[in-house]
Symmetry: C2
Subunit: 161 residues, 2 copies
């Protein structure tokens, strides 16, 4: 029992991927919010708008999946966006359980204004980091997300343990 294991047991924030991902997420979110506020938008809209620019007419479930949020979160967000006239929700005629979401001209128009912000934020974040290291980070983040999603599913399956 030297003192080194003790230090290791503490799992200091600097050495914890979970902590650093959390910190980085909040940093991104703050800047994104600051930028969107200048366009008069709340930050939550961004992710849904982007999904719709790629897949206009997607169902709410699909949009939730694309954004990695739950369906109630998507419902709340889309209702707010509907209220602002950014999107329209239309009940699907063939399968009346579904609701398809379409951009209004106003929602479509935000694309030109917002995309440069997103590109800029990513550029600022990556300043001083080599392209190669950024690629590695991107790849590791995806892998970790997948690993953790699998673990979450495992935990949900095993009710007691």
């Amino acid at each position: 029992m030297t003192d080194l294991p003790d230090i290791a047991d503490e799992l200091p924030p600097d050495r914890s991927l979970g902590f650093q991902v959390r910190r980085c997420h909040r940093a991104f979110d703050r800047v994104l919010n600051a930028q969107l506020a200048r366009e008069g938008l709340a930050s939550g809209f961004w992710y849904f708008l982007r999904a719709l620019w790629q897949e206009n007419g997607a169902t709410q479930k699909r949009l939730a999946q694309l954004n990695n949020v739950t369906e109630p979160t998507a419902v709340a967000m889309l209702r707010a966006m509907d209220g602002l006239g950014l999107i329209e929700r239309v009940r699907n005629a063939e399968d009346r359980r579904k609701v398809n979401v379409f951009l209004t001209p106003r929602g479509e128009a935000l694309r030109g204004a917002l995309t440069p912000h997103a590109r800029r934020i990513n550029a600022v974040a990556g300043e001083g980091v080599s392209a190669r290291d950024l690629e590695t980070c991107l790849r590791v983040l995806k892998k970790m997300s997948d690993n953790l999603a699998a673990e979450a599913a495992r935990l949900a399956d095993a009710p007691l343990r």
Copy 2:
């Protein structure tokens, strides 16, 4: 105007660090919550407990900084933890603006139960990734956090733009 520039302009989620950090954060958070729920705790407590295990007696402001949350968030969390008997808050006698936060025996005792979970979650996340790539990711995440924090400060300083 070929079709390639268009694709690039879309900044697809797969290529966006902001998006991947967000997704990874949510994945970590879900697993952490699932684990803590088994100990009867809400996930927000984890970060404050860990900070106190390292710096028992820290002020609320210090705890907020250590966790990268705002002071109101810290206040709310610490009040809840106080209510559960995990911590005690004592007004500082020398500078009565400050409140020092101390772990109760009960809060101290959670350390043994919770730390293994955190270590395990980090281990699961990093499965199948080389130690070297994990180091790179850690380093890039810290750098991006710093870059974005500086940008946030810049944006706050420049009220109009």
